[in-house]
Protein backbone atom coordinates (compact mmCIF):
# COMPACT_ATOMS: atom_id res chain seq x y z
CA UNK A 1 0.00 0.00 0.00
CA UNK A 2 1.32 3.42 -0.88
CA UNK A 3 1.80 6.19 1.61
CA UNK A 4 -0.89 8.16 -0.17
CA UNK A 5 -3.30 5.31 0.30
CA UNK A 6 -2.39 5.13 3.92
CA UNK A 7 -3.02 8.82 4.39
CA UNK A 8 -6.40 8.58 2.70
CA UNK A 9 -7.36 5.68 4.90
CA UNK A 10 -6.24 7.63 7.94
CA UNK A 11 -8.32 10.60 6.87
CA UNK A 12 -11.33 8.38 6.31
CA UNK A 13 -10.84 6.88 9.75
CA UNK A 14 -10.59 10.32 11.29
CA UNK A 15 -13.81 11.38 9.57
CA UNK A 16 -15.63 8.28 10.81
CA UNK A 17 -14.27 8.77 14.29
CA UNK A 18 -15.40 12.38 14.41
CA UNK A 19 -18.89 11.34 13.30
CA UNK A 20 -19.13 8.47 15.74
CA UNK A 21 -17.69 10.59 18.55
CA UNK A 22 -17.48 8.89 21.90
CA UNK A 23 -19.83 6.05 21.00
CA UNK A 24 -17.10 3.43 20.57
CA UNK A 25 -17.17 0.92 23.42
CA UNK A 26 -15.11 -1.99 24.68
CA UNK A 27 -11.65 -2.35 26.16
CA UNK A 28 -10.09 0.12 23.71
CA UNK A 29 -12.73 2.79 24.17
CA UNK A 30 -10.09 5.44 24.85
CA UNK A 31 -7.80 4.34 22.02
CA UNK A 32 -9.89 2.92 19.18
CA UNK A 33 -7.09 3.60 16.69
CA UNK A 34 -4.39 1.83 18.63
CA UNK A 35 -2.86 0.01 15.61
CA UNK A 36 -2.57 3.27 13.68
CA UNK A 37 -1.30 5.11 16.73
CA UNK A 38 1.36 2.48 17.34
CA UNK A 39 2.64 2.96 13.79
CA UNK A 40 2.76 6.71 14.45
CA UNK A 41 4.57 6.06 17.69
CA UNK A 42 7.23 3.99 15.90
CA UNK A 43 7.71 6.66 13.23
CA UNK A 44 7.95 9.23 15.98
CA UNK A 45 10.59 7.39 18.01
CA UNK A 46 12.64 6.66 14.89
CA UNK A 47 12.80 10.32 13.81
CA UNK A 48 13.21 11.46 17.39
CA UNK A 49 16.10 9.13 18.17
CA UNK A 50 17.88 9.96 14.92
CA UNK A 51 17.41 13.73 14.80
CA UNK A 52 15.27 15.59 17.31
CA UNK A 53 16.61 14.14 20.55
CA UNK A 54 20.32 14.55 19.65
CA UNK A 55 19.64 18.17 18.66
CA UNK A 56 17.81 18.80 21.95
CA UNK A 57 20.66 17.18 23.90
CA UNK A 58 23.24 19.28 22.09
CA UNK A 59 21.16 22.39 22.79
CA UNK A 60 21.12 21.57 26.52
CA UNK A 61 24.86 20.86 26.56
CA UNK A 62 26.02 23.83 24.49
CA UNK A 63 23.68 26.55 25.74
CA UNK A 64 24.26 28.14 29.15
CA UNK A 65 21.44 27.55 31.62
CA UNK A 66 20.43 31.27 31.94
CA UNK A 67 19.91 31.49 28.18
CA UNK A 68 17.82 28.32 28.11
CA UNK A 69 15.81 29.67 31.07
CA UNK A 70 15.18 32.91 29.16
CA UNK A 71 13.97 30.90 26.16
CA UNK A 72 11.64 28.87 28.40
CA UNK A 73 10.38 32.08 30.00
CA UNK A 74 9.73 33.71 26.62
CA UNK A 75 7.51 30.88 25.43
CA UNK A 76 6.03 30.54 28.91
CA UNK A 77 4.85 34.13 28.57
CA UNK A 78 2.95 33.16 25.42
CA UNK A 79 1.52 30.19 27.34
CA UNK A 80 0.31 32.64 29.97
CA UNK A 81 -1.49 34.73 27.31
CA UNK A 82 -3.38 31.66 26.18
CA UNK A 83 -3.96 30.62 29.77
CA UNK A 84 -5.59 34.01 30.38
CA UNK A 85 -7.92 33.52 27.39
CA UNK A 86 -8.86 30.08 28.68
CA UNK A 87 -9.34 31.27 32.27
CA UNK A 88 -11.92 33.69 30.87
CA UNK A 89 -13.56 31.01 28.70
CA UNK A 90 -13.79 28.77 31.78
CA UNK A 91 -15.13 31.56 34.00
CA UNK A 92 -12.20 31.62 36.43
CA UNK A 93 -11.72 35.29 37.36
CA UNK A 94 -8.98 34.70 39.98
CA UNK A 95 -6.79 32.73 37.60
CA UNK A 96 -7.53 35.20 34.81
CA UNK A 97 -6.32 38.04 37.03
CA UNK A 98 -3.13 36.18 37.85
CA UNK A 99 -2.35 35.25 34.25
CA UNK A 100 -3.11 38.73 32.92
CA UNK A 101 -0.94 40.19 35.66
CA UNK A 102 1.85 37.81 34.70
CA UNK A 103 1.69 38.72 31.01
CA UNK A 104 1.65 42.46 31.70
CA UNK A 105 4.49 42.23 34.21
CA UNK A 106 6.71 39.93 32.20
CA UNK A 107 6.09 41.55 28.81
CA UNK A 108 6.45 45.10 30.11
CA UNK A 109 9.18 44.74 32.69
CA UNK A 110 10.73 41.38 31.87
CA UNK A 111 12.09 42.12 28.37
CA UNK A 112 9.09 40.71 26.45
CA UNK A 113 8.93 37.71 28.73
CA UNK A 114 12.60 36.72 28.74
CA UNK A 115 12.70 37.30 32.50
CA UNK A 116 9.93 35.80 34.62
CA UNK A 117 9.56 38.57 37.19
CA UNK A 118 5.98 37.55 37.94
CA UNK A 119 7.06 34.19 39.37
CA UNK A 120 9.60 35.91 41.59
CA UNK A 121 6.75 38.13 42.76
CA UNK A 122 4.77 34.99 43.57
CA UNK A 123 2.03 35.29 40.92
CA UNK A 124 1.08 31.68 40.07
CA UNK A 125 0.87 30.39 36.48
CA UNK A 126 -2.62 29.30 35.47
CA UNK A 127 -1.51 26.67 32.96
CA UNK A 128 -4.91 26.46 31.23
CA UNK A 129 -5.23 25.54 27.55
CA UNK A 130 -8.02 25.10 24.99
CA UNK A 131 -8.21 21.34 25.49
CA UNK A 132 -8.91 21.86 29.19
CA UNK A 133 -11.52 24.50 28.38
CA UNK A 134 -13.34 22.06 26.08
CA UNK A 135 -13.18 19.50 28.89
CA UNK A 136 -14.61 21.98 31.40
CA UNK A 137 -17.40 22.67 28.90
CA UNK A 138 -18.25 18.97 29.00
CA UNK A 139 -16.85 17.97 25.61
CA UNK A 140 -15.65 14.35 25.59
CA UNK A 141 -11.91 13.84 25.09
CA UNK A 142 -12.62 11.66 22.05
CA UNK A 143 -10.19 9.06 20.75
CA UNK A 144 -6.57 9.09 21.85
CA UNK A 145 -4.09 10.01 19.12
CA UNK A 146 -0.33 9.70 18.88
CA UNK A 147 1.04 12.15 16.33
CA UNK A 148 4.66 11.91 15.12
CA UNK A 149 6.82 14.81 16.39
CA UNK A 150 3.90 16.12 18.40
CA UNK A 151 3.31 13.29 20.82
CA UNK A 152 0.27 12.07 22.73
CA UNK A 153 -3.01 13.93 22.41
CA UNK A 154 -6.73 13.37 21.96
CA UNK A 155 -9.16 14.70 19.37
CA UNK A 156 -10.27 17.32 21.91
CA UNK A 157 -6.79 18.39 23.03
CA UNK A 158 -5.41 18.26 19.49
CA UNK A 159 -8.19 20.56 18.29
CA UNK A 160 -7.17 22.95 21.05
CA UNK A 161 -3.58 22.89 19.82
CA UNK A 162 -4.71 23.58 16.24
CA UNK A 163 -6.57 26.69 17.41
CA UNK A 164 -3.53 27.77 19.33
CA UNK A 165 -1.23 27.10 16.37
CA UNK A 166 -3.24 29.54 14.27
CA UNK A 167 -3.66 32.11 17.03
CA UNK A 168 -0.14 32.24 18.46
CA UNK A 169 1.57 35.61 17.86
CA UNK A 170 4.63 33.81 16.51
CA UNK A 171 2.64 32.49 13.55
CA UNK A 172 1.75 36.06 12.60
CA UNK A 173 5.28 37.41 12.39
CA UNK A 174 5.72 38.69 8.83
CA UNK A 175 9.44 38.05 8.56
CA UNK A 176 9.50 34.38 7.58
CA UNK A 177 13.04 33.55 8.83
CA UNK A 178 12.32 35.10 12.26
CA UNK A 179 8.99 33.29 12.47
CA UNK A 180 10.46 29.92 11.52
CA UNK A 181 13.39 30.40 13.88
CA UNK A 182 11.04 31.11 16.79
CA UNK A 183 8.76 28.18 15.93
CA UNK A 184 11.79 25.90 15.79
CA UNK A 185 13.15 27.26 19.04
CA UNK A 186 9.78 26.73 20.69
CA UNK A 187 9.81 23.05 19.68
CA UNK A 188 13.43 22.67 20.76
CA UNK A 189 12.63 24.15 24.16
CA UNK A 190 9.70 21.77 24.58
CA UNK A 191 11.73 18.74 23.51
CA UNK A 192 14.62 19.66 25.81
CA UNK A 193 12.27 19.99 28.78
CA UNK A 194 10.99 16.46 28.13
CA UNK A 195 14.43 14.77 28.15
CA UNK A 196 14.34 13.80 31.82
CA UNK A 197 10.76 12.60 31.73
CA UNK A 198 11.55 10.50 28.69
CA UNK A 199 14.42 8.68 30.38
CA UNK A 200 12.13 8.01 33.36
CA UNK A 201 9.44 6.54 31.10
CA UNK A 202 11.93 4.27 29.35
CA UNK A 203 13.18 3.02 32.69
CA UNK A 204 9.70 2.55 34.17
CA UNK A 205 7.69 1.09 31.33
CA UNK A 206 7.33 -2.45 29.99
CA UNK A 207 5.58 -0.97 26.97
CA UNK A 208 6.30 2.78 26.64
CA UNK A 209 3.38 3.29 24.24
CA UNK A 210 0.83 2.08 26.78
CA UNK A 211 2.61 3.78 29.67
CA UNK A 212 2.62 7.18 27.92
CA UNK A 213 -1.04 6.79 26.93
CA UNK A 214 -2.18 6.06 30.47
CA UNK A 215 -0.02 8.83 31.96
CA UNK A 216 -1.22 11.37 29.37
CA UNK A 217 -4.90 10.59 29.90
CA UNK A 218 -4.55 10.60 33.70
CA UNK A 219 -2.71 13.91 33.60
CA UNK A 220 -5.21 15.61 31.30
CA UNK A 221 -8.16 14.40 33.39
CA UNK A 222 -6.47 15.79 36.49
CA UNK A 223 -5.92 19.14 34.77
CA UNK A 224 -9.50 19.42 33.49
CA UNK A 225 -10.73 18.89 37.06
CA UNK A 226 -8.15 21.39 38.38
CA UNK A 227 -6.38 18.79 40.51
CA UNK A 228 -9.56 17.36 42.06
CA UNK A 229 -10.62 14.54 39.71
CA UNK A 230 -13.50 12.35 40.89
CA UNK A 231 -12.37 8.75 41.52
CA UNK A 232 -12.32 6.53 38.46
CA UNK A 233 -14.31 3.31 38.49
CA UNK A 234 -12.43 0.77 40.58
CA UNK A 235 -11.24 -2.53 39.19
CA UNK A 236 -9.29 -3.58 42.26
CA UNK A 237 -9.77 -6.82 44.27
Amino acid sequence: MTLRHHCLRTLALLAVMLLVGGCAMGPTREDPFEPMNRVSYRIHTTIDTAVVKPVAQAYVELTPKPIRQAVTNFFGNIDDMFSFVNDVLQGKPDKAGHDLGRVITNTGFGLLGLIDIASDAGIPKGGEDFGQTFGVWGIDQGPYLFIPLFGPTTVRDGSGWLIRGYATPIAHINDAPTRDFLLGLNLLDLRASALQTESLVNQAALDPYTFIRRAYLQRRRYLVYDGQPPPEKEEEE
Binding site: G76, A204, L206, T210, R214, Y222, L223, G227
Partner: protein, 207 residues
Protein backbone atom coordinates in the same frame (compact mmCIF):
# COMPACT_ATOMS: atom_id res chain seq x y z
CA UNK B 1 42.16 10.24 76.67
CA UNK B 2 42.10 6.80 78.23
CA UNK B 3 38.36 7.09 78.68
CA UNK B 4 37.68 7.38 74.96
CA UNK B 5 36.71 3.73 74.29
CA UNK B 6 34.47 3.77 77.35
CA UNK B 7 32.82 7.00 76.29
CA UNK B 8 32.21 5.62 72.85
CA UNK B 9 30.60 2.57 74.48
CA UNK B 10 28.37 4.74 76.65
CA UNK B 11 27.31 6.86 73.71
CA UNK B 12 26.53 3.76 71.65
CA UNK B 13 24.47 2.31 74.50
CA UNK B 14 22.56 5.54 74.91
CA UNK B 15 21.88 5.63 71.19
CA UNK B 16 20.64 2.03 71.26
CA UNK B 17 18.33 2.79 74.20
CA UNK B 18 17.04 5.90 72.45
CA UNK B 19 16.31 3.85 69.37
CA UNK B 20 14.34 1.36 71.47
CA UNK B 21 12.32 4.16 73.03
CA UNK B 22 11.81 5.84 69.69
CA UNK B 23 10.61 2.72 67.83
CA UNK B 24 7.09 2.56 69.31
CA UNK B 25 6.81 6.29 68.82
CA UNK B 26 7.53 5.84 65.10
CA UNK B 27 4.90 3.10 64.88
CA UNK B 28 2.29 5.63 65.99
CA UNK B 29 3.73 8.42 63.91
CA UNK B 30 1.03 10.39 62.11
CA UNK B 31 0.98 9.77 58.32
CA UNK B 32 1.87 13.33 57.37
CA UNK B 33 4.71 13.39 59.90
CA UNK B 34 5.97 10.10 58.47
CA UNK B 35 5.96 11.41 54.89
CA UNK B 36 7.76 14.56 56.00
CA UNK B 37 10.40 12.66 57.97
CA UNK B 38 11.13 10.11 55.23
CA UNK B 39 11.18 12.77 52.47
CA UNK B 40 13.52 14.91 54.52
CA UNK B 41 15.79 11.94 55.22
CA UNK B 42 15.87 11.11 51.52
CA UNK B 43 16.69 14.72 50.57
CA UNK B 44 19.47 14.80 53.18
CA UNK B 45 20.94 11.60 51.79
CA UNK B 46 20.87 12.97 48.23
CA UNK B 47 22.69 16.08 49.39
CA UNK B 48 25.28 14.55 51.71
CA UNK B 49 26.02 10.92 50.77
CA UNK B 50 29.24 10.85 48.75
CA UNK B 51 28.43 7.60 46.93
CA UNK B 52 24.97 8.90 45.99
CA UNK B 53 26.50 12.10 44.67
CA UNK B 54 29.00 10.07 42.67
CA UNK B 55 26.06 8.29 41.02
CA UNK B 56 26.70 4.82 42.52
CA UNK B 57 23.50 3.16 41.26
CA UNK B 58 23.76 -0.01 43.32
CA UNK B 59 24.34 1.99 46.50
CA UNK B 60 21.35 4.27 45.75
CA UNK B 61 19.15 1.23 45.21
CA UNK B 62 20.24 -0.29 48.52
CA UNK B 63 19.46 2.94 50.34
CA UNK B 64 15.98 3.19 48.82
CA UNK B 65 15.29 -0.45 49.67
CA UNK B 66 16.42 0.05 53.28
CA UNK B 67 15.02 3.52 54.02
CA UNK B 68 12.02 4.09 51.78
CA UNK B 69 10.61 0.76 50.57
CA UNK B 70 9.60 -0.41 54.10
CA UNK B 71 7.08 2.43 54.23
CA UNK B 72 5.18 1.02 51.24
CA UNK B 73 2.63 -1.80 51.17
CA UNK B 74 4.04 -3.64 48.16
CA UNK B 75 1.36 -6.37 48.13
CA UNK B 76 -1.44 -3.85 47.89
CA UNK B 77 0.42 -1.75 45.30
CA UNK B 78 0.99 -4.82 43.16
CA UNK B 79 -2.65 -5.91 43.53
CA UNK B 80 -3.77 -2.47 42.35
CA UNK B 81 -1.40 -2.50 39.40
CA UNK B 82 -2.25 -6.06 38.32
CA UNK B 83 -5.99 -5.46 38.70
CA UNK B 84 -8.46 -8.26 38.00
CA UNK B 85 -5.86 -11.00 37.39
CA UNK B 86 -4.46 -10.64 40.93
CA UNK B 87 -7.29 -12.80 42.30
CA UNK B 88 -6.31 -15.70 40.06
CA UNK B 89 -2.64 -15.60 41.07
CA UNK B 90 -1.26 -18.25 43.42
CA UNK B 91 0.41 -17.04 46.65
CA UNK B 92 3.78 -17.82 45.07
CA UNK B 93 2.97 -15.83 41.93
CA UNK B 94 1.76 -12.95 44.09
CA UNK B 95 5.04 -12.92 45.98
CA UNK B 96 7.12 -12.97 42.81
CA UNK B 97 4.99 -10.27 41.18
CA UNK B 98 5.34 -8.02 44.17
CA UNK B 99 9.12 -8.63 44.42
CA UNK B 100 9.67 -7.84 40.74
CA UNK B 101 7.39 -4.81 40.86
CA UNK B 102 9.29 -3.49 43.87
CA UNK B 103 12.61 -3.92 42.04
CA UNK B 104 11.23 -2.11 39.00
CA UNK B 105 9.99 0.83 41.07
CA UNK B 106 13.27 1.04 42.99
CA UNK B 107 15.32 0.94 39.80
CA UNK B 108 13.15 3.60 38.18
CA UNK B 109 13.25 6.01 41.07
CA UNK B 110 16.91 5.52 41.86
CA UNK B 111 17.59 6.81 38.35
CA UNK B 112 15.22 9.72 38.85
CA UNK B 113 16.76 10.74 42.18
CA UNK B 114 19.13 13.20 40.54
CA UNK B 115 16.21 15.36 39.49
CA UNK B 116 15.18 15.97 43.09
CA UNK B 117 18.49 17.34 44.31
CA UNK B 118 17.49 21.00 44.48
CA UNK B 119 13.81 20.54 45.11
CA UNK B 120 11.88 22.33 47.75
CA UNK B 121 8.98 20.36 49.21
CA UNK B 122 5.86 21.94 50.67
CA UNK B 123 3.68 19.87 52.96
CA UNK B 124 -0.04 20.54 52.90
CA UNK B 125 -2.12 20.36 56.09
CA UNK B 126 -3.75 16.97 56.58
CA UNK B 127 -7.53 16.90 56.56
CA UNK B 128 -8.57 13.63 58.16
CA UNK B 129 -10.86 12.15 60.78
CA UNK B 130 -8.87 11.08 63.86
CA UNK B 131 -9.94 7.41 63.63
CA UNK B 132 -9.61 7.08 59.86
CA UNK B 133 -7.62 4.16 58.45
CA UNK B 134 -6.98 5.71 55.04
CA UNK B 135 -5.64 9.16 54.27
CA UNK B 136 -4.07 11.11 51.42
CA UNK B 137 -0.99 13.09 52.39
CA UNK B 138 -0.50 15.99 49.99
CA UNK B 139 2.84 17.56 49.19
CA UNK B 140 4.07 19.88 46.47
CA UNK B 141 7.40 20.28 44.71
CA UNK B 142 8.02 23.97 44.19
CA UNK B 143 10.02 24.84 41.06
CA UNK B 144 11.03 28.41 40.27
CA UNK B 145 9.26 29.82 37.21
CA UNK B 146 7.13 26.73 36.74
CA UNK B 147 3.90 25.37 38.08
CA UNK B 148 4.35 23.35 41.27
CA UNK B 149 3.98 19.57 40.92
CA UNK B 150 1.76 17.84 43.44
CA UNK B 151 2.91 14.58 44.99
CA UNK B 152 0.11 12.82 46.89
CA UNK B 153 0.56 9.69 48.97
CA UNK B 154 -2.41 7.37 49.50
CA UNK B 155 -1.79 5.80 52.90
CA UNK B 156 -3.35 3.12 55.08
CA UNK B 157 -3.01 2.30 58.77
CA UNK B 158 -1.38 -1.06 59.44
CA UNK B 159 -0.21 -2.71 62.69
CA UNK B 160 3.33 -1.68 61.68
CA UNK B 161 2.42 2.00 61.27
CA UNK B 162 1.15 3.97 58.29
CA UNK B 163 2.14 2.69 54.88
CA UNK B 164 1.75 4.21 51.41
CA UNK B 165 0.03 2.17 48.69
CA UNK B 166 0.08 4.74 45.89
CA UNK B 167 1.98 7.84 44.89
CA UNK B 168 0.24 10.29 42.56
CA UNK B 169 2.58 12.72 40.83
CA UNK B 170 0.86 15.63 39.10
CA UNK B 171 -2.31 13.57 38.84
CA UNK B 172 -0.56 10.49 37.46
CA UNK B 173 -0.80 7.45 39.71
CA UNK B 174 2.43 5.45 39.69
CA UNK B 175 0.46 2.31 40.44
CA UNK B 176 -2.59 2.48 38.22
CA UNK B 177 -0.40 3.75 35.39
CA UNK B 178 0.85 0.16 35.12
CA UNK B 179 -2.64 -1.33 34.95
CA UNK B 180 -3.04 -1.27 31.15
CA UNK B 181 0.46 -2.64 30.54
CA UNK B 182 0.07 -5.42 33.08
CA UNK B 183 -3.40 -6.36 31.83
CA UNK B 184 -2.04 -6.45 28.28
CA UNK B 185 0.81 -8.76 29.31
CA UNK B 186 -1.50 -11.06 31.30
CA UNK B 187 -4.01 -11.32 28.45
CA UNK B 188 -1.20 -12.27 26.07
CA UNK B 189 0.53 -14.92 28.14
CA UNK B 190 -0.92 -15.19 31.63
CA UNK B 191 0.51 -14.17 34.98
CA UNK B 192 3.77 -16.05 34.44
CA UNK B 193 4.45 -14.05 31.30
CA UNK B 194 3.99 -10.83 33.28
CA UNK B 195 6.46 -12.09 35.91
CA UNK B 196 8.89 -12.96 33.13
CA UNK B 197 8.53 -9.57 31.46
CA UNK B 198 9.14 -7.78 34.74
CA UNK B 199 12.17 -9.92 35.54
CA UNK B 200 13.63 -9.29 32.08
CA UNK B 201 13.10 -5.55 32.48
CA UNK B 202 14.84 -5.65 35.88
CA UNK B 203 17.76 -7.68 34.51
CA UNK B 204 18.39 -5.22 31.67
CA UNK B 205 21.17 -2.72 32.25
CA UNK B 206 19.90 0.69 33.25
CA UNK B 207 19.90 3.44 30.65
Amino acid sequence: MSTTPLRVGVVALCAALLALVALPAFAQEAPDALVKRVSQEALDIIKTDARVKAGDKAHIRELIKAKIAPHFDMQRMTALAVGRAWRQATPEQKQRLSDEFESLLIRTYSNALDQYRDQQLDYKPLRVQPDSNEVTVRTEVVRPGQQPVSIDYSMEKTPAGWKAYDVIVGGVSLVTNYRDEFAQQVSQGGIDSLIKALAAKNAAPTQ
